[in-house]
């Protein structure tokens, strides 16, 4: 059993930014606020050893812009993945979305896509539609 104290720094913070990675980071939506610098954490229902070898693409694409750490969750509850922005190119919303998509890829192998829209934009539902467009970026994660 792995202890909580077992922590591994998976992504070197000084890694050079690849061209592709930089483009991904630079596509940050203008609406996204800069990162608070807080560490965001999720737990993934997969063994630490499996995840530690290769991070899923959503996180690895931000190599150099994020400080990502993994550690085994207590009582065989999987693996805790935490991420923190290293610069202003990544917002808190980006990190939440990356973590959620990574969890889904690691657990399911896929990220669930929303159903096709059947609704009509109105002035009344504009705030809800805006929130829904960023559904994986908001929240408390």
């Amino acid at each position: 059993m792995r202890l909580m104290t077992r922590a591994v720094l998976v992504t070197a913070v000084t890694a050079a930014l690849g061209g592709t990675t930089y483009r991904v980071v630079a596509r940050r939506r203008s609406a996204s606020a800069p990162s608070s610098g807080r560490r965001h954490v999720i737990t993934v229902q997969r063994p630490f050893d499996e995840i530690a070898e290769v991070l899923p693409e959503p996180l690895s694409a931000y190599h150099g812009a994020l400080d990502v750490q993994l550690r085994a969750a207590p009582a065989d509850r999987g693996t805790e993945i935490s991420a923190r922005a290293l610069n202003d190119t990544v917002s808190d919303g980006d990190i939440r979305r990356l973590l959620r998509e990574s969890r889904s890829l690691l657990e399911v192998g896929d990220v669930l896509q929303p159903g096709g829209p059947t609704s009509t934009p109105t002035a009344l539902n504009a705030p809800l539609r805006a929130a829904t467009r960023h559904g994986r970026e908001g929240g408390l994660l």
Binding site: S104, G109, L112, G115, T118, S119, N125, R129, H134, G139
Partner: protein, 390 residues
């Protein structure tokens, strides 16, 4: 295709929407054969859960036929007759591994709203607002079912569509209340609400060996169904002092397990109802919790209260003192259908669990707005209105 759409507070209409399509390799497309109203839909229709958009398709309890399968689907083929859990769950996350499927980490594409409201996000649900993923609902000719290997179940030949329909949500929700409420042989169980979910909870308690099961409501036709089909004792709260009656029927102890199957628009006699109505309309509370209050007060010391009714936010006059001082266990959940549906289908096939009587009114999808009016107003003793989209 045709679908029943929410058009605004208390406005429904059948309109044209795009056909659903496979969006993930684990999806199937189901041609809906039967889809049914649910009391929790009324909270959406009435604007009590303010995360609806004009045009959203309602409905989360349905059976149908598989007409298309995604490339990763292993358990289903075109032509299968399936009943589908109303909650969408991946089957792989920590919560699914604990069989708490409605808490799935990967089933809600829009977790921000509920996470902000409640601290953590539950899974997604069909036709139940953008807070639950914005998934188009089942009151339509076709529906996309994500994670189909986890949430869709082949209906045994011995079970009709009419019966299997209610395994989708009502029966699994009711069973969950009795199961997770901890009903044991010899228990006295009280169920608030004699709608479909309450009746199913009562039937589950009987099948789990409860000594007495008492169902509380004010509609005689529903109480009659609970007596006839669930084997429960009816109690009309407009005609008697419920708590005194429950005490008397449980040797003065109070019910061991109290199951609330009413929800956020509870009705009660007297001043409490007026008080809750005013506070709800003024948005000083979002939900009317009268049945939960009663359940907590009536429950025996050290007993269990399970909240099956849907609640959205905050309530006033919650009896925390009774809960704490009586040492109660209070639980609640959206339904973990994937945990119960196979077992329920087996019981349906054996005739232990019958549901057809719940479908008091069956009509084409085109009449769905009228069906919801009947259902809401309990016209013509409507318990559930079932729609036939095809």
């Amino acid at each position: 295709m045709k679908a029943l759409q929410w058009q605004g507070v208390n406005k429904l209409a059948v309109g044209e929407v795009p056909d659903p399509e496979i969006r993930n390799p684990g999806d199937i497309i189901v041609k809906v054969t039967r889809t049914v109203t649910c009391g929790s839909d009324l909270h959406l229709i009435g604007g009590y859960i303010p995360f609806m958009e004009k045009g959203d398709v309602l409905g989360h309890e349905f059976v149908g036929e598989v007409v298309e399968v995604g490339s990763d689907v292993r358990n289903h083929r075109v032509g299968d007759r399936v009943v589908v859990s109303s909650f969408i769950a991946c089957g792989k996350c920590y919560f699914c591994a604990q069989e708490l499927f409605s808490l799935c980490d990967n089933g809600n594409t829009n977790p921000a709203i509920t996470e902000t409201l409640w601290g953590q996000a539950p899974g997604g649900c069909f036709g139940y607002s953008h807070a639950m993923g914005g998934n188009p609902g089942s009151h339509a000719q076709y529906i996309r079912v994500p994670f189909a290997d986890v949430g869709a179940f082949i209906v045994p030949e011995a079970v009709t569509d009419e019966r299997a329909l209610f395994a989708s949500d009502s029966a699994s929700t009711g069973w969950m209340g009795a199961d997770l409420g901890g009903v044991r042989p010899g228990d006295v169980v009280a169920v608030w609400g004699a709608g479909a979910v309450g009746q199913m909870a009562a039937r589950a308690a009987v099948l789990l060996g409860a000594d007495r099961v008492i169902v509380i409501d004010r509609y005689e036709n529903r109480l009659g169904q609970a007596e006839k089909f669930a084997g429960a004792e009816p109690l009309n709260y407009e005609h008697t002092d419920v708590e005194a009656e429950l005490r008397e029927r449980s040797g003065g102890r109070g019910p061991d397990v109290c199951i609330e199957a009413v929800g956020m628009e509870a009705h009660t006699p007297g001043a409490q109802f007026l008080y809750d109505q005013v506070k709800q309309q003024l948005r000083l509370q979002t939900d009317r919790p009268a049945a939960v209050r009663d359940a907590i007060h009536a429950c025996r010391k050290g007993g269990s209260v399970f909240v099956l009714g849907v609640y959205a936010g905050f309530v006033d006059k919650f009896p925390l003192g009774a809960l704490m001082n009586k040492g109660l266990t209070v639980r609640g959940a959206q339904m973990h259908g994937q945990r119960y549906i196979p077992m329920l289908l087996d019981r349906m096939a054996r005739g232990e669990l019958v549901t057809e009587h719940l479908a008091t009114h069956t009509m084409p999808l085109a009449d769905a707005p009228a069906g919801y009016r009947m259902f809401k107003d309990k016209e013509d003793d409507c318990v559930r209105a079932v729609f036939l989209p095809n």
